[in-house]
Amino acid sequence: MKKSLFTLALFMFVGLYSTAQKVEFEEYKLDNGLHVILHQENAAPIVTVGVMYQVGAKDEVEGRTGFAHFFEHLLFEGTENIERGEWFNIVSANGGRNNANTTQDRTYYYETFPSNKLEIGLWMESERMLHPIIEQIGVDTQNEVVKEEKRQRIDNAPYGKIIYRTGINNHLFKKHPYGRSVIGSMDDLNAAKLDEFISFNEQFYNPNNATLVVAGDIDVEETKKMIQDYFGPIENKAEANVRKPVVEDPITETRYATEYDANIQIPAYIFSYITPKSVDKDAYVLDYISSILTGGNSSRMYKRMVDQDKVALQVLAFNQASQDYGTYTMGALIKGEPDWDSLKATMDEEIKKLQTELISEKEYQKLKNQFETRFVNANSRIEGVASSLATYQMLQGDASRINKELDIYNSITREDIMAVANKYLNPNQRVEIKYLAGSEPESDK
């Protein structure tokens, strides 16, 4: 009785969503095509300058995997006015921090400074766009660094092939470049010549192929003037990157795979599916499904497999939606001797339940509460807001989606959840991966 009262009390909150912070911003284009997004937030005296380029691992040509990420490293080597090795020193000597990251779809660079250093940030990013210096010495050094990054992140890291998906996406995507890994192959990188890097720069690192975001404690008009000064004169060396759509044939027969990881002792059973692209509402529904299955100790798979049956040490489910496709991955770290068939049966039962029964009203409300909390959290830091604005604009075509996310989640019905589970999560649409401890047997290589 106590329990139901509690539940009832909570239902009173339905519809009373605290208005999560709306992110105000302004956007425009420079004559050279550079897309600019400004977000003013004067709560703390800090500012983030970020540039997102519409080039990622999926733009790599055959035989040059890892090129985009490698190139990201190269663009810290220096510019005509920033000496080699000085990039990081300038940032820290001005009290800032910086980084960059590369995904399949885009490459993003940013600096965060005390707000009186805004102009330095704009200068640095415009230097990078205008005239980076790409030399053999930088290629050689970064080649070694990237090899270490790969070893550290993937080869030496427990479950690295799951976390970085190098042991999953290769089984899902046979045509689309998402099947290749972002960090790529060292052989490919070793083979790349200096002039390839130079032409990569000319092809992709142009204002018409980039979004500049400035967020934080700024004066909008002054910022606009500085942006014009630093970025306005940069000329394009090529057309903006237009990508030909690559259509991946849907998986219609279950695929089976085995992956090995010498860094682990506990095997995992992983199911992964191809799902819709990030802009699709169904991608949001899959976030809900992940949460139903593994979000918190009261989630379905956790309760069933970890708590009750004690067949899993941990369960996982995550939805990762990219520009062209998404992937949905679920699985378990296996406790004790793996009984693959029974694990499969259990996970299938949980999916079947989603496909055949509507989730309860209470579970539905729980989801909404969880996503509201997540959303309030998401835009609490300037650095995060900057990156989200650029991502929404470049990869989903509309920066204002930053404020629509919660509405989209809220519009999802219980029926949507059932429909999406039926549409994407059938056994014949997935790859089943036995992720084993140890090294790959020689004969399989």
């Binding site: 709560a43 800090i46 606009k224 004169p233 010498a262 506990i266 100790n297 040490l313």
Partner: protein, 688 residues
């Protein structure tokens, strides 16, 4: 609004027509330093002694709290794991609410929380504050521990330990602290399957009761909450929490090694070596040196542009990153650590480069610009941190738990600014060590150990000690992977087959091999004569004999003078037609591994000796001997002589190398085979 639009248009228009007046060649000027507005933490104390700090920031409709009981670290001993098991059990079920209901309630509210015997935290939307805080208090003050859940958590913990058994990073995490603090120390002990199994339900109950006490503790609230709300929450939910505190135990002492040494842990699957150079840090936050120490560590390894990273990553490309940390202690000393992950092949070089940078900051004055930049970074970070309003509460807490003056953070930047070039060097010398450092390497012995054992620092070879994954001393790990079942005997027999086979060798009764080389304008001739059980070598220069060595089974002479007995014994293996025939019956012969000789794998066979040790290398593919190394160890001095054997050619059914190349007095000298005589011209008198 209209004005605004016109201005925007104007700006765009102007941009298109006017050339910007900027100078790209210089770093732009910074604007005036912005003001940092950090809310003050409101502070009050509960009757039970718990100190409350509240920072209100209503920008977002959420809040978090952090309960820190300020407990001294505990040594768990043969029950290591009791702390983590108690943590795992807390927050699962309570005296009032079943496990399923409890997790359901928290998840339903979209909240997250965690409770442990040392405190806990919570996060939720502010509209659920009351419900979530009440659940937090319930989990904290009325936990329920059951055997069933304990058994479950023990299993999970043991599986977790197992899951890290092959991970170089997990192993490094354990052994670094165990070796520095000692396994008998709270900070150094390692949780194992055995110690986890020792933990009983009673242990868990007691552990909770003894440690969950408020009187030395703090609770920090930050976010969408006022002081008044915090007060009423605590009054409502923490009312029944009686005072009490945990006594600080005696901690065992620990100190640096007297001279720098290497501690090696073998992880055969590792593709990178986990490298740490460590020493004891007596630094405290309240020390006068604290600010200088922060700056010093920043310059050495606190940032991308630091000495360590610029050398190991940017210059050498050994690693994705190299950093250092200089810890401060409250109950006992902390540690200095320079750490990185490097690829196997250059592990030895990475150790040396790391030591070099530590030595550099201790012995060379830091560049004025580097120091100025470091200070600027501290200022910048101080400003950037202000975005997180909880920082005010955290700073207030740090002041209290470290006995710092109230104005510690007010003067923070001024104190950083005061640090001089001399301070950096002085503090580096005081707190960092390259001469009494413990270097912990966790990596693949087969790939890295042989070179690691050759590392020299400050003119001395560094001693290497070996440990297992739980930091217990162990034997030197095997560094080579030989084909299963392969023995020295097989390698030697393969060699004898390769040079001609049993039949050809059996027919041989004597040998003369004459080699000629030219060096320093002279012709040098080496003539070897061999009979069964006897061998001699005469070196002549310009036709004059310079040195004559004669070896038989029981004695050896040089220029007719007898050599010491132990040396003669060592050399007896060479006394004969083919040393390999003697080696087949010697118990001093060992197959030592596989090494590359001129880029090709060769089996290494060692012949150990008192004074003279030999290593012969036999090509894996052809079976032929490709290299000889003779190491002489006399009166504490070791000298090695390497000879490469090349271009085998057949003489009357037997193969001999046409070239023997070795270095003499810093010069490579190639001896060419000019004469081979088989079964003629040798008599017993040649060996008198």
């Amino acid at each position: 609004m209209k004005k605004y639009i016109i201005f925007t248009l104007l700006a765009v228009f102007m941009g298109a027509t006017v050339t910007a007046q900027i100078d790209r060649t210089k770093i732009p000027e910074s604007g005036p330093m912005p003001e940092v507005n950090l809310g003050e933490a409101k502070e009050f104390k509960l009757k039970n002694g718990l100190t409350v700090l509240v920072v209100t920031d209503s920008k977002l409709p959420s809040l978090n709290w952090n309960l820190n009981l300020n407990n001294p670290p505990v040594y768990e001993g043969d029950k290591a794991g009791v702390q983590s098991l108690t943590s795992a059990l807390m927050g699962k079920e309570t005296q009032l609410t079943s496990k399923d209901d409890f997790s359901e309630k928290i998840d339903f509210l979209g909240a997250s929380m965690n409770v442990s015997p040392n405190g806990g935290f919570g996060f939720c939307l502010s509209k659920y504050t009351d419900q979530v805080f009440s659940l937090f208090a319930e989990a904290a003050l009325q936990p329920k521990f059951t055997q069933e859940e304990l058994d479950f958590e023990k299993e999970q913990l043991i599986e977790g330990i197992k899951s890290g058994e092959n991970s170089a990073a997990a192993i490094a995490g354990n052994v670094r602290s165990a070796l520095l603090y000692g396994k008998n120390h709270a900070a150094g002990e390692i949780i194992t399957e055995e110690t986890v199994n020792n933990v009983t339900l009673e242990d868990v109950n007691n552990f909770y009761k003894e440690r969950f006490k408020p009187s030395n503790g703090y609770i920090l609230f930050s976010g969408d909450i006022t002081e008044k709300q915090a007060k009423s929450l605590l009054k409502k939910y923490f009312r029944d929490w009686d005072k009490g505190s945990v006594e600080t135990p005696e901690y065992p002492s620990f100190e640096d090694v007297p001279t720098t040494e290497i501690n090696f842990v073998d992880v055969p699957n590792a593709v990178q070596t986990e490298l740490a150079v460590m020493s004891v840090s007596p630094l405290k936050m309240s020390d006068e040196d604290y600010h200088a120490a922060l700056v010093t560590n920043y310059i050495l390894g606190g940032a991308f542009g630091s000495y360590l990273n610029m050398n190991l990553r940017e210059d050498k490309g050994y690693t994705y990153g190299a950093r250092s940390s200089l810890g401060t202690g409250r109950y006992y000393n902390s540690s200095f650590r320079a750490t990185t992950k490097v690829r196997n092949e250059i592990t030895d070089s990475a150790v040396v480069e790391t030591l070099k940078e530590i030595k550099r900051i201790r012995t060379e004055p830091v560049d004025a610009e580097i120091l100025a930049n470091a200070k600027a970074k501290f200022l910048g970070s101080f400003i950037l941190e202000s975005e997180d309003k909880a920082v005010a509460a955290r700073r207030a807490l740090r002041i209290r738990t470290n006995n710092l003056p109230e104005d510690f953070y007010k003067n923070y930047i001024a104190n950083i600014d005061k640090v001089t070039i001399e301070d950096v060097q002085r503090v580096a010398d005081k707190y960092l060590a390259d001469d009494k450092a413990r270097i912990v390497l966790v990596g693949k012995a087969a790939d890295v150990l042989e070179n690691v054992e050759k590392i020299e620092w400050n003119g001395k070879k560094l001693p290497v000690k070996y440990f297992d994954k739980e930091a217990n001393p162990t034997d030197r790990p095997e560094t080579v992977v030989l084909p299963e079942g392969l023995t020295a005997e097989t390698v030697l027999n393969n060699y004898l087959t390769a040079i001609g086979g049993k039949e050809a060798i059996d027919k041989t009764t004597s040998l003369i091999l004459k080699y000629e080389a030219s060096a320093m304008g002279n012709t040098i001739v080496s003539e070897e004569k061999k009979l069964d059980g006897k061998a001699s070598q005469v070196l002549s220069m310009g036709g004059n004999p310079m040195m004559t060595v004669i070896m038989t089974k029981d004695k050896a002479t040089m220029n007719k003078n007898p050599l010491p007995e132990n040396m003669a014994t060592d050399m007896s293996v060479l006394a004969g037609l083919f040393p390999e025939l003697n080696m087949l019956s010697s118990d001093k012969v060992k197959l030592a591994g596989i090494e590359a000789v001129d880029g090709k794998d060769a089996y290494k066979v060692d012949v150990s000796g008192d004074v003279i040790s030999l290593s012969f290398y036999y090509d894996v593919e052809s079976g032929l001997k490709v290299k000889e190394v003779q190491t002489t160890n006399m009166q504490g001095r070791t000298q090695s002589q390497e000879t490469m054997l090349k271009d085998y050619q057949t003489y009357e059914g037997l193969k001999f190398p046409n070239v023997r190349a070795g270095s003499q007095m810093g010069q490579v000298i190639e001896f060419k085979l000019i004469e081979v005589k088989i079964n003629e011209g040798v008599s017993d008198q040649d060996f008198d």
